[in-house]
Every structure is written in C-alpha cells, then in structure tokens.
Symmetry: C2
DNA sequence: ATCCAAGCCGGAATCTATTCGCTTGAGCCG
DNA sequence: CGGCTCAAGCGAATAGATTCCGGCTTGGAT
C-alpha cells in the first residue's frame, strides 16, 4: 500500500492481463520465489490496490447482440439529481458503465442489449423520462476495442529502475 | 459451447463478478460436485465462452489521476481510415477503450492519463492530427460507475427452468 | 424393454497455496 | 568502522485445491 515498487507494477500489469495466473507462474514471471510473491499479493489485496477480478464472457452467448452509448443532457446539474442517477443507473442490468462528464453532454451510458427493440424499450423506459433528462442521443456501437491494463504513469516505476 | 444451460449462466455470472473464485467454491455455489464443475469450466474455456480474466487495480496507484472521453468526428467513413484507427488506437497505453458508433460522432475513446497536461499532449499528439479526424471534443470524466457482469438476455436461461 | 449418450459423482494422484522460521543485505547510529 | 535493526526474500512443511478417471444414474430414442 505504502510504496509499490517496480515488481509490484509488474505483478499488477500481469494480473490485469490475466488474473488466472497462478501465484507460482506469477512468481516466475517477476523473478521471485512463490512465497515472496504471495506476500506481495496479500499486501496488494489488503491495501486495496487490487480491487477485484472479472471474467470476460462472449456477449453473444448471453444473448447480447447489440451495444450502444447513450449521450445524455441534463436540465441542470443539481447534485441530488446527478447523484441519484449515478447511484441507480448501475442497478440496471443492461448498463455496463456510466460516465459523468464535462462538455456538451452530461452523461454517457454504455448499455448491452439484445437488439434494437430492446434498446428502444430500455431507452424509453429507463432514461428518456427520468427527472432532469432533457435529451438523449443514442449511438449504436459498430465495433469496439478494449485494453484491460491501465498505463503505469507514476515516475516511481522508472526512478526505481535507475 | 453448443448449449449453455442455466448452470452455465450461473457460473458465468459468478465469474464475471469474481474470477478468483476457486473451482471448489464455484461448485458449491452452483450446486455441483467440484469435478463436474471443473468439466464445465473446461468446456466454457475451450468453447471460447470464457475469454479471459482481468484484475481491477486502483488507478491512483498507477499514477492515473484523470480519465476522459474523446468524442471524435471523422471526415469520411473510409473503411481504410476507420479500420486502421481501431487497429492502432488500442496500442496507445492510455487508451482504455474505443467505440466506433453511429450518430453525431464517429468514435468515442476512453483514456486514462496523469493530469490535464498529459491529456493535452495525448490528444494533440495522438488524435487531433490523425488523418481523417476533423474534430475532437474532450470530455473529462468526473465520476464513473461500472458493472462487470453482462445481462443474461437469452431466453434459454428461462426456458430451461420450466 | 433395451441401448446410448450426457451429465454427474467420488476418490486418488498431483500440484499449488500458504505459513513460518531463518538468512541476507541495506541503512543508520553510536 | 562495527554492529543494530528492519524489511524483503527464501525454502521447507503442511494444508488444501486441481485434475483426471472409472463408474453410476437418468432420460430419450429405437
């Protein structure tokens, strides 16, 4: 928690790409004994650096045939409206992510649905007539790419190296 | 691969929330013997239903202090330009996701950076002067929420139940 | 009724995780 | 310079999980 070093960053990088790596494999990859690597892992979990692990599933198998971004404008940025929106939106199963942003729009919501009919119902039932929502632009996702590992931007990773 | 049933969906749901569940715990949770559950897991991996697992890391620890969405308009939807964009954008470490969409914008790119200076450089160096890009709107993310499990939308999950 | 295939189970062998005491080396102070 | 302290690493031992079969049960088709 206190001071992650280069080895910790290596561990984090590897686990972001493949969380199923065994402790033994991980230890070999970062050049530590399994027991030592295990100590580090425990520290990273306990310190809240590692927050969870998630399996990636083929969306089609679950019946997800369409994804979209909902670009939403709010009438006013009342804290109560915004906070409740962010709180409640995540309980909608079709919502994958919600972003409260600056700029022309106020919210971007990423949803996963079966088809266009499902998308229509979801948008109308859950978003269009919410209090504070003045407008929604629906953008269908043709194609998406993803990176599962965050960049390591802290300079510590480099200063430790020198 | 061929026909996932309700138990498979249960397994997938659980692993999307916590990929570190041991096979033993998973088996107990879905009401199977560990050996049987293990068979199913192997099938799901082999069939491409399970595609990977990823650890979630505290962004601040990695030096990520700011995230943003880049809303991009392209001059024309030439396949060559679009394809190369999607192909190359994922190799930029700061890019977390890129969406090719319908509507007013053509691309939405989710980036993770250190601060506003870093964001400026990233936008100007990697996106503004790319061929085909006519305009970029940068939206800083104030707050975001995420759901790591996709909805189960296939009716098979219910018909198997009856 | 019989056969077949699919799914499930229990147990054995193997491999892994996890703990703990010891060692090493770096930094610090007397 | 010598020695103290502390953090990090290591290896061995034990506890626990994975993984592979062989056999059992069930449900459907012939």
């Amino acid at each position: 928690m206190d001071a992650p070093d280069r080895t910790d960053f290596d561990i984090l990088s590897l686990l972001q790409k493949n969380a199923r790596l065994s402790n033994k494999e991980l230890a070999a990859a970062v050049g530590l004994a399994p027991s030592t690597c295990h100590e580090r892992l425990k520290r990273l979990w306990a310190g809240g650096v590692l927050r969870g692990t998630h399996a990636e599933v083929d969306p089609a198998v679950l019946g997800v045939g369409l994804e979209a971004l909902l670009l939403i404008e709010l009438a006013k940025h009342q804290r109560e409206i915004v906070d409740s929106f962010m709180r409640e939106v995540v309980s909608v199963p079709e919502v994958r992510a919600a972003f409260l942003i600056t700029g022309r729009y106020d919210l971007v919501i990423h949803v996963a649905v079966r088809d266009t009919a499902h998308l229509k119902n979801l948008a109308l039932d859950n978003f269009t007539n919410r209090p504070g929502v003045t407008r929604i632009e629906t953008s269908i996702i043709y194609e998406s790419v993803r990176r599962h590992d965050l960049p390591v931007l802290t300079t510590a990773s480099r200063s430790e190296l020198d």
